[in-house]
């Protein structure tokens, strides 16, 4: 009598096997994605004797006490952080305005604006960097700290704008109308009603801008002149061998980034529920 339920069952075991294989495949790819990160973290604790930190020579904490042994490296990390902060502040302000305009209003400029942002996201960084350098050189602008900030704002602006727009589209405009009906000025309405509602989008956008900036190499190399950032310093050190201090600094940045990302997604989930 149980044969009645069998047709459904004959298919199920096959499904499960396929799913299980697929699950294993997912973990294999993830292992591959995460392997270099494990290597980076591990080799910060490597008791290496020579400058080339390639072979495992025992566990040590000693490099943590020598984090500042390379003053140019420390300076490069500080540059990376301050450049990222400056670029994030500018990008978030300009990107939020674009996101508001595109999410709230229907206007003829929206099409061209979308197209330019799309071009900024999908153009190769190499070409953006090269063309910016051509312009700076012939305009007689000395490349350095400021031009790096300009370039970082350029490539992260569109990402912030689309992130904020996604948030603005989901808003109920009647809340702002209510505020205005109750006598609030445009300015008050924005800061007391609109901004708190789009703040999660603005925060995500700002985090993204910071992450894009602190990680960037290609455009930075073209626009930095004599200024060095953390990725540029590592690139310059590859030939002679990368010291363990780089691994430790990379691990610290990684840890901070992961903590912020998890906090942000937990907060986002709490706001929804």
């Amino acid at each position: 009598m149980t044969t009645q339920t069998l047709p459904g069952r004959t298919r199920k075991p096959r499904t499960r096997l396929g799913d299980r294989l697929l699950h294993i495949y997912v973990w294999l790819v993830l292992a591959w994605l995460l392997a270099p990160i494990a290597v980076m973290i591990a080799f910060g604790f490597n008791d290496t004797q020579s400058k080339s930190n390639v072979n495992w020579q025992g566990f040590t904490f000693k490099w943590w006490g020598h984090l500042g042994d390379y003053p140019d490296l420390t300076g490069a990390v500080i540059n990376s952080i301050t450049i990222a902060l400056a670029a994030t502040a500018i990008t978030t302000a300009l990107g939020t305005l674009i996101g508001l305009a595109l999410g709230r209003y229907r206007f003829k400029g929206a099409g061209p604006m979308n197209l330019v942002m799309f071009a900024a996201i999908s153009s190769p960084e190499l070409v953006m960097g090269a063309s910016l350098l051509s312009l700076f050189v012939s305009a007689g602008v000395q490349t350095g700290y400021v031009t790096v900030v300009i370039a970082h704002v350029l490539f992260s602006l569109s990402f912030v704008a689309v992130t904020v727009r996604a948030r603005v589209v989901g808003l109920d405009p009647s809340l702002e109308e209510a505020a205005r009906d109750l006598g609030a000025s445009t300015w008050t309405t924005f800061w007391r009603v609109t901004f708190p509602m789009i703040a999660p989008g603005v925060i995500s956008g700002a985090l993204l801008a910071f992450a894009l900036s602190i990680d960037d190499f290609v455009i930075t190399q073209f626009t930095s002149g004599a200024t060095t950032t953390f990725p540029l310093w590592i690139y310059g050190a590859v030939r002679q061998g990368v010291p363990p201090q780089v691994n430790i600094l990379g691990t610290l940045i990684f840890a901070v980034g992961v903590v912020i990302a998890i906090t942000n997604s937990v907060l986002a989930r709490r706001r929804v529920t």
């Binding site: 994605l33 206007f107 990680d215 590859v238 940045i253 990684f254 990302a261």
Partner: protein, 283 residues
């Protein structure tokens, strides 16, 4: 006034993009036909022959970049699609955890990730040295400075850009549609090729755009993981700009690269719209 508001809002950001994205690109087109050197300055001579010289001298690297970009994109699809499929349909409540794991490499600087691969793949490094000492691999076995290392590095660095848009597209597929196909006696293969795959194509195309372009224009992987036989067009452009200060040749090469890609990018935007890429970017 109210009609002007959106224009005022996009004005500062729009100007930034105009001055630092559009103007430099147009200007680069002009530099590419100039002649001269960095000491005496460059003058516009409409030297279009420069393009032929530049392309003729570096056609090997152009071709190699295209091959690496295509191979890397194909491998990325093969790795990313099953992954995105499993996370979207079988990930259940752990979806966001899996996505975080996929994005985890982004918390390590791009250059540092690539340098870590150099550690891992070093001839006498932690992976190959033990295998060589027990005789599993021959002494002269190497991966660094080969095509495998460079294409592998490209796939590694850009894989999340393929996973994300495919995942976004698959996540939106209503699974009841797939069940309906089974109820109507579709086979598993049939349900996939006729229902799931077509619905995920926009995401797949967005992923191709977001990986093929940066892979083809990359020079970091070839510089760190590759050897003299793996030089890509990006390495040449970088060298012309930052080492030789030969801006016209560098500009002609970047402009050729950009033009080929722009045609592809705008054909894409025309055919499929910008929505998928902009949406994937917003995640």
């Amino acid at each position: 006034m109210r009609r002007l508001t959106p224009y005022l809002l996009i004005l500062p950001g729009g100007l930034w993009l105009l001055v630092f994205l559009i103007v430099p690109l147009v200007y680069m087109a002009s530099v590419s036909t100039m002649e001269g050197d960095v000491v005496n300055g460059f003058a516009q001579t409409f030297n279009f022959a420069g393009y032929l010289d530049a392309f003729g001298a570096y056609q090997t690297q152009f071709l190699r970049s295209a091959v690496y970009g295509l191979a890397g994109t194909a491998i990325a699809i093969a790795l990313a699609y099953p992954m995105a499929y499993w996370i979207a349909f079988k990930g259940g409540s752990r979806k966001s955890t899996y996505l975080l794991l996929v994005l985890l490499p982004f918390f390590v600087s791009f250059v540092l990730r690539t340098v870590s691969w150099k550690f891992l793949l070093a001839d006498d490094g932690i992976l190959f040295e033990p295998l060589k000492s027990i005789g599993v691999l021959p002494e002269d076995f190497r991966v660094l400075q080969t095509t495998v290392a460079v294409v592998g590095g490209l796939v590694y660095n850009y894989l999340p850009f393929m996973v994300l848009p495919i995942y976004v597209a698959l996540e939106r597929v209503d699974y009841r549609v797939v069940e309906a196909a089974y109820d109507l006696y579709a086979s598993r293969v049939g349900a996939f090729t006729r229902i799931v795959l077509p619905l995920s194509l926009p995401g797949l195309f967005a992923g191709v755009l977001m990986t093929f372009v940066p892979m083809t224009a990359d020079y970091v992987n070839a510089a760190i993981l590759g050897g003299p036989d793996n030089t890509m067009i990006g390495n040449i452009i970088q060298q012309q700009y930052l080492v030789n200060n030969d801006y016209p040749v560098g500009a002609a090469l970047s402009f050729t690269l950009m033009a080929v890609m722009l045609i592809g990018i705008f054909a894409y935007a025309k055919a499929l719209g910008t929505q998928n890429v902009l949406e994937a970017a917003a995640r």
